[in-house]
């Protein structure tokens, strides 16, 4: 027998679930190796039989940046707060590409792994969690380009760079918070699968990816700041490009909003997961 089973004989009780707040997050921690393997699986599978492999991770934001520069900066003459437009756009595309990837993977993730859900027990939260973590690996590669561009344009990061981890954390939290609502809904209503690409597209236009926040009329700013990705992108520009500091008041509002969405999402997901195997 294995050493684990000698010291801890697991005891499991199975009964109809009544409470709303039985979150059992400890189980997620116990299964952390599965989380690792699911991320590892997605990374491996993604670049098998792809000729340029990891190159796609760099190519996607790079090409988007070039197109944005041509269309928005050259043709439409969109201002960029005095920052060279290519790096202005790329600094936003870095977190945005991650977010769009994370959301488009985690939204349909539960249905995508229905084969597992109907046959094997494990904490279901692992699935959207893995889907949010996987594209984070891409960020490491695409930020190499960002560093190169910063050197090229002679950008010196401010002290705000110390706050970067905070913004780096806010993006996956936002993706996870939304996914925890969408994934269970997707199990019931496949409409979510159709609506998701559309939602992501709209969300991009509602975020300051291609344009600066200063273009947004003053009276819409509060509503605009409820979009957590606006905070993340502004934070990135502030930390890396030394842009005038963003509105911290509004950023804490959007962070608090994400936290609320996340907690509610966990409760909602845990409530819905009971019927996953029956409905999926």
């Amino acid at each position: 027998m294995t050493s684990t089973s000698i010291f801890t004989t697991p005891f499991v009780e199975i009964k109809p679930s009544r409470g709303v707040f039985q979150l059992d997050l400890r189980a997620v921690w116990q299964y952390r190796e599965l989380l690792y393997f699911l991320v590892w699986r997605d990374l491996k599978v993604r670049y098998k039989q792809a000729a340029i492999g990891i190159g796609w991770v760099i190519l996607q934001p790079l090409v988007t940046m070039l197109i944005f520069t041509a269309v928005f900066a050259k043709f439409a003459k969109v201002p960029s707060d005095g920052i060279p437009y290519p790096i202005f756009a790329y600094t936003a595309l870095l977190p945005w590409t991650y977010f769009a990837q994370a959301l488009s993977r985690s939204g349909p993730s539960v249905v995508g792994d229905s084969g597992l859900i109907s046959k094997i027990y494990f904490p279901r939260l692992i699935i959207p969690l893995a889907a949010v973590i996987t594209p984070a690996v891409d960020v490491v590669f695409s930020s190499v380009i960002l560093l190169a561009m910063m050197v090229w344009f002679g950008m010196v990061p401010t002290w705000g760079v110390l706050a970067l981890p905070l913004f780096l954390l806010l993006a996956p939290m936002t993706a996870l918070a939304v996914a925890l609502w969408l994934a269970p809904l997707h199990v019931r209503y496949r409409d979510v699968g159709h609506a998701l690409p559309f939602l992501i597209q709209i969300w991009m236009y509602a975020s300051p990816v291609a344009y600066p926040v200063s273009l947004v009329p003053e009276r819409w700013r509060v509503l605009y700041s409820l979009n957590p990705m606006a905070g993340v992108i502004e934070g990135f520009r502030w930390a890396l490009l030394g842009k005038a500091s963003p509105d911290f008041m509004l950023m804490s509002v959007s962070a608090a909003f994400v936290l609320l969405l996340l907690l509610g999402g966990i409760v909602f997901f845990k409530h819905m997961e009971k019927t996953f195997a029956d409905v999926i």
């Binding site: 004989t9 109809p16 393997f37 599978v45 039989q49 597992l116 109907s118 209503y189 496949r190």
Partner: protein, 413 residues
Amino acid sequence: MMSEIVVQAEGLCKKYKIATARYRHDTLRDLLTDSLKSAFRRNGNRHQSKDDFWALKDVSFELERGEAVGIIGRNGAGKSTLLRILSRITLPTEGYASIKGRVGSLLEVGAGFHQELTGRENIYLNGAILGMTKQEIDRKFDAIVDFSEIGRFIDTPVKRYSSGMYVRLAFSVAAHLDPEIMMIDEVLSVGDMNFQQKCMEHTKKLLNGDATILFVSHNMFAIKAMCSRVIYLNEGSVRYDGPSEETISIYESESRLDSLDWGEKIVGSKLAEWSIYATDIQVLDEQGKPRTVFDFGERMRIRVKFETRRPIVKPNFIIGVDRSDNVECCSYSSFVDGFHISRLDGEGVLEMVTPPLKLVAEAYDIVIVVRDESFQKLYCAQRGARFHLRHELFNTHFGVFHESADWHLSTIP
């Protein structure tokens, strides 16, 4: 040794809503139109209980450490639902269960395998999904590969595996989980015979190591070989719980003359509404004495008593022999054999004598099917009596049947 209860189930119930299965609101539009419909339908709630389906009704039992218990029952009796609840895939609607020990459940071989990944990669992935740590998989890796007989294909993507290799690898991972409680759903019926044998032996080894096993199967032989106790589920309830031989014989006598699943889809599930149905199927020896065990090469007399509700023109009786693992071995047709019946009405008895039986030693079921002479229409499809064939050598390793050939040898010196 003191007996210790490791699995306890008390009053387990599971309710499914048939409505959600039938009109799964796959799209929001369906939901909207359905809820509009029910809002405008009077007495909308009266039908609600009709849409509920109790897959399990008040199931209770206890398993002691080291026990191997089989679960049998017809399709839809609740066997799989029970295993799904005990392995925590779905929750019971009512009732309680407790499990003490590390559970390994094998409801499907290769769940979580990824086609694009290699055998090696899938061992790690599947192992983690089944609940093993990476360290544990590292340690057991060689044993898993060895058991699976995959050999040098271990670094080939599993999408290029034959189905046999796939199943062997998948079972090997699960077999090395070293669980204290193992739940197996019908998975041993896949793979070739040699490998099945190997799996059975491995499972027995687990048993000797004090593991507890819960085993769902349609294969009564496998159940008898492995389990000392059998729980017979019928329509979601425990019909009988006792020693294997006893429970299996009750199950077999009760499932006689059942309609066949595929037939129900065509002629309906109510036997009483069929144009014709068998009221008794007897297996006799050539002289007409009832028997259930036959020697290889013996003839068998099959007597079918039937009742017709509506006259049938030119019926074609087909008597088939299915092996206990659902392999359809052979069949005899009255029409093909030139035995024509112009019209059938009322009650009657049909008798036929088989040619010498050359099927290998196993358990077989008689199946009776009534069609028309063009094999198009179906009137009746039932499972009948069970019989066993005996031979000291010819078993399923020799194939479905065995017949002697003429041999000739010429050598060049």
